[in-house]
């Protein structure tokens, strides 16, 4: 691959993602949607929804055309979160679903996420099959009289909230004063409705649904939380602050004292809660997630199962253990699968779980977070040169041979209280470098890794 060719399209087992126009085009959308329509076997409708990006309108039309042409009826939920699409798939006995949106990426990006009839992400094998159909381009286009019909459904948000209301004690939780940075995304619609319908008092920042100019990148990093949300916590005398990505599957925290908390904290905090209840012992996460999860799980008698990064691998793992043994699943990105709804990474449900912890433990969010040992994580990325990856990984493994190596997804090396993970992204043409240490940031190790990877690139 020549280095001067700008690359922003990534088609892989996790679906397709790219910068609209420069990388991801209408042609890709049509072909992928038609491939998905061919892949789905059952005759039920397909649920679609999108985040507020302007390009989502274009993609929506392409996805609808591809699915109708394969004979599927389509139920369009409009601008909704990804979890709302997933809930609707189960409720409506759909054959699958598509969520259009680039989650944490900036506005010029977009992506498609595909779901099976259980509302879950596809497994590795299913995703591989979908990709094969896409490449083969032999689609099952039906005859004119079997083409599907489009319907719209505006009840999905309320029915989703009904399900959350059944799983969480809204009456108790609505007493909290909560500030939320919606990043101009779908969480704004959900939380506004919770205020109206259930009397919550969410104070919303960047609540305008916006297609082109987001107030800032909708990512759940500590840095983004520190931009607008964290500084407002003390002046507003709020109990908790949360920030959601555009499609509301990820969440990050700001404490009542105005401290921006890493998105890595969301899973350990919720795992602690779930393990303390004593339902299940396994925590399923990926190789790039904070080591704090091991410490928290260890203290509660739990065990961490680490799988390669990507939701397909997590789906495989969830299916490979008895459901009763699984306590919780999640990622270091702030995406956590609530135990009540073990098919969906849901930022809103994760937020409600954290508020439930505050309620039950009678502590402030700052106290709750401070109870965990501090870990410092550094994340970076370097452009990808595919042919040099094997040599790079071998070289790194030799260089850091004093640690424990795991090569199931790139290279992860662990030392007591310290680890790094170097891997190839499935969503962007980049090598990701993640490095964490108990206590202070492992700056020297991180800098050395970045420098080393860069030399190979």
């Amino acid at each position: 691959m020549r280095r001067d060719v700008p690359r922003s399209l990534r088609i892989s087992q996790v679906g397709l993602r790219g910068v609209i126009g420069a990388g991801l085009t209408a042609t890709h959308v049509l072909d992928f949607a038609t491939a998905f329509g061919t892949f789905l076997e059952s005759a039920g409708p397909v649920i679609i929804g999108r985040d507020p990006r302007a390009s989502g309108v274009m993609i929506r039309h392409g996805v609808i055309a591809g699915l109708l042409a394969c004979g599927h009826d389509v139920i369009d939920l409009g601008v909704v979160s990804t979890p709302i699409v997933q809930h609707a798939i189960r409720r409506l006995d759909a054959s699958g679903g598509v969520s259009i949106g680039a989650s944490h990426n900036s506005a010029e990006w977009n992506a498609l996420k595909f779901f099976g009839p259980q509302g879950t992400y596809l497994s590795t094998a299913e995703a591989g099959e979908l990709l094969d159909i896409y490449h083969l381009k032999k689609f099952h286009l039906v005859d004119w009289d079997r083409i599907g019909k489009l319907k719209t459904d505006s009840s999905a948000l309320d029915l989703y909230l009904d399900e959350l209301a059944g799983a969480f004690d809204f009456t108790a939780l609505k007493r909290f004063k909560v500030v939320v940075d919606c990043c101009n995304g779908t969480s704004s619609l959900i939380l506004r409705r919770m205020n109206e319908r259930f009397g919550f008092s969410f104070i919303l920042l960047n609540e305008k649904i916006e297609g082109v100019s987001f107030a800032h990148e909708p990512s759940t990093t500590e840095r983004t939380v520190a931009l607008q949300l964290a500084p407002l916590m003390r002046p507003l005398n709020a109990d908790a602050g949360f920030l959601f990505d555009a499609d509301s599957d990820r969440v990050a925290i700001a404490t009542n004292e105005g401290v921006a908390v890493s998105e890595e904290m969301t899973l350990p905090v919720l795992a602690d809660h779930q393990l303390s209840i004593g339902r299940g012992t396994l925590v399923i996460t990926n190789l790039s997630t904070t080591a704090l999860i091991d410490e928290v799980a260890g203290a509660r008698g739990g065990k961490v199962v680490r799988v390669p990064v990507g939701r397909q691998a997590a789906m495989d793992a969830l299916a490979s253990f008895p459901a009763a043994e699984i306590a919780i699943a999640g990622e270091g990105t702030g995406a956590v699968m609530p135990p009540q709804f073990r098919f969906v990474y849901d930022g809103i449900a994760a937020m409600l779980s954290i508020l439930t912890m505050l309620e039950e433990r009678g502590r402030t969010l700052a106290e709750l977070v401070a109870a965990y040992p501090r870990y410092s994580i550094l994340k970076g990325q370097v452009p990808l040169i595919s042919q040099r990856i094997p040599a790079l990984l071998m070289d790194l493994q030799a260089r850091y041979s004093d640690g424990v190596a795991n090569v199931t997804d790139g290279l992860r090396v662990d030392w007591p209280g310290r680890w790094f993970h170097v891997r190839v992204s499935q969503t962007e043409p980049a090598v990701r470098i993640i490095c964490e240490q108990r206590g202070q940031p492992p700056q020297a190790l991180f800098d050395a890794l970045v420098e080393h990877v860069r030399r190979f690139a």
Partner: protein
């Protein structure tokens, strides 16, 4: 092996059997090429009632948005209604998803320019070059525009335009008993409103549910309109109208339940128009000589073009014609309303003429000179057309020949037109003569050449 044209990229757009051939990916790519060709701006998109229309409209819309166009969705409407809305909406162009009179498994993309006219040959080939090149303009997220819906303005505009050219009060006062067969097509809703509300007709309608499939062969011809004829007789209607699925063509049934030849409908409308505003007429080569007779009554000139509406429209523009059409296909083109084939203009003019003259349809028809006509199709390999033209001309040495679309041979007793089909591996044979015997002789001689 016979070659079936299941996908045809041709003179009047891109047409094909939906599913394996006319795919959503193809529609999307053409949408994007169209968006690039018109250079962005607003594009009007509408469709007829075919089951595949919704799917294709989404695909085309996807492509147009990806090219940076703003899309105005006008929903299910007759093609002429969509066409005349394009300039009114200040759009840069428009697309209709309709295979007009073709069977339901077909659909097609029809292209219109900023004036709401069918793309001419040059515009169309430029568009196809862009599509073949496949290097489309790719809008960024910031450049992607919205889709707006406007289902009400286009039909209102269309009806206003048509009614300006007739004496509405005189027609309303007659409260005509009218039968209608809209083939459950794009005209279903508008035609009922137009005839009942605008023209105060006592309407007896069948096949006016746009959610249902076509109940008869989509092309409105004498042999496909048995139900309309029966309705006219049962309800003792003064006239019966039949539309095609996209509401541009019109067939007419008289008060006795006899379906008129489409050539005669065109001639009746020409009689009405030329009497009020004499001027040039443009018809295709296959249109009946009755048109020449009617034009001669008013001292008007008739121009002839190859078959296909776009050719007629192009010539009408060039000569500033006041009237045009394609005889056998039905439907009239009256540029003062819009330069397109329009069944609503035809309905209004016929009712207006009946109101003005007090005559029945059959009485109006009896004014026209009588011709005998035949048309047929023969399987044919298009590569042989040149030698067939030579052989036909040799066997009719006295005929005046016009080779602009296949060959038309004009003789004292009548004429023969043999041309390759635009859509299928067939030749179409049309012939007309003043007498039945003359017609039989002409056809026998032509078939003899074609079959040898």
């Amino acid at each position: 092996m016979p070659r079936e044209h299941l996908l045809k990229v041709g003179v009047s757009g891109v047409r094909g059997v939906v599913g394996e051939f006319l795919t959503p990916a193809l529609a999307c790519a053409i949408g994007q090429a169209f968006g690039a060709y018109v250079g962005g701006g607003r594009v009007v998109v509408g469709r007829d009632t075919r089951a595949s229309g919704e799917m294709l409209q989404h695909a085309v819309t996807c492509g147009l948005l990806a090219a940076g166009c703003e899309v105005t969705d006008v929903g299910v409407l007759p093609t002429p209604t969509i066409q005349m809305f394009i300039p009114a909406a200040r759009a840069t162009g428009g697309l209709a998803l309709t295979a007009s009179h073709n069977p339901p498994e077909y659909n097609a993309l029809k292209f219109f320019n900023a004036r709401g006219l069918f793309f001419n040959n040059y515009e169309r080939s430029e568009l196809l070059d862009l599509w073949h090149q496949s290097e489309f303009r790719q809008a960024t997220n910031e450049e992607i525009r919205a889709v707006r819906c406007d289902y009400d303005t286009p039909p209102r505009l269309h009806v206003e335009r048509v009614l300006k050219h007739i004496d509405v009060e005189r027609v309303r006062a007659r409260r005509f008993r009218v039968a209608l067969d809209a083939v459950n097509g794009a005209g279903s809703v508008l035609s009922c409103r137009f005839l009942r509300k605008s023209l105060n007709c006592d309407l007896h309608a069948i096949a006016v549910d746009p959610s249902q499939p076509f109940p008869r062969v989509a092309e409105p011809r004498p042999d496909t309109l048995g139900q309309l004829a029966e309705l006219v007789r049962r309800e003792r209607c003064e006239i019966g109208f039949a539309q095609d699925p996209d509401g541009d063509r019109l067939a007419v049934c008289d008060e006795t339940g006899r379906v008129l030849d489409n050539d005669d409908v065109l001639a009746l409308a020409a009689d009405d128009v030329l009497e009020r505003m004499p001027g040039d007429v443009v018809v295709n080569l296959t249109t009946s000589s009755v048109m020449d007779d009617v034009a001669a009554w008013y001292g008007c000139k008739v121009h002839r073009t190859p078959v296909v509406e776009a050719n007629v429209v192009e010539k009408m523009q060039a000569v500033g014609a006041v009237f045009g059409g394609e005889g056998a296909n039905g439907g009239i083109i009256f540029p003062a309303v819009h330069l397109c084939r329009d069944s609503y203009t035809a309905m209004a003019f016929l009712l207006d003429r009946m109101a003005r003259t007090g005559a029945t349809v059959s009485a109006l028809l009896s004014r026209l000179p009588r011709y005998f006509r035949e048309s047929d199709t023969l399987p044919f390999a298009h590569g042989r057309m040149g030698s067939v033209i030579q052989a036909l001309e040799a066997s009719f040495p006295d005929a005046r020949a016009d080779r602009s679309d296949g060959v038309k041979l004009m003789l004292a007793e009548g004429w023969i037109h043999v041309r390759p089909s635009n859509t299928e591996p067939l030749v179409r044979l049309s012939a007309e003569a003043r007498t039945e015997e003359g017609l039989a002789v002409l056809c026998r001689r032509a078939r003899h050449v074609l079959e040898s």
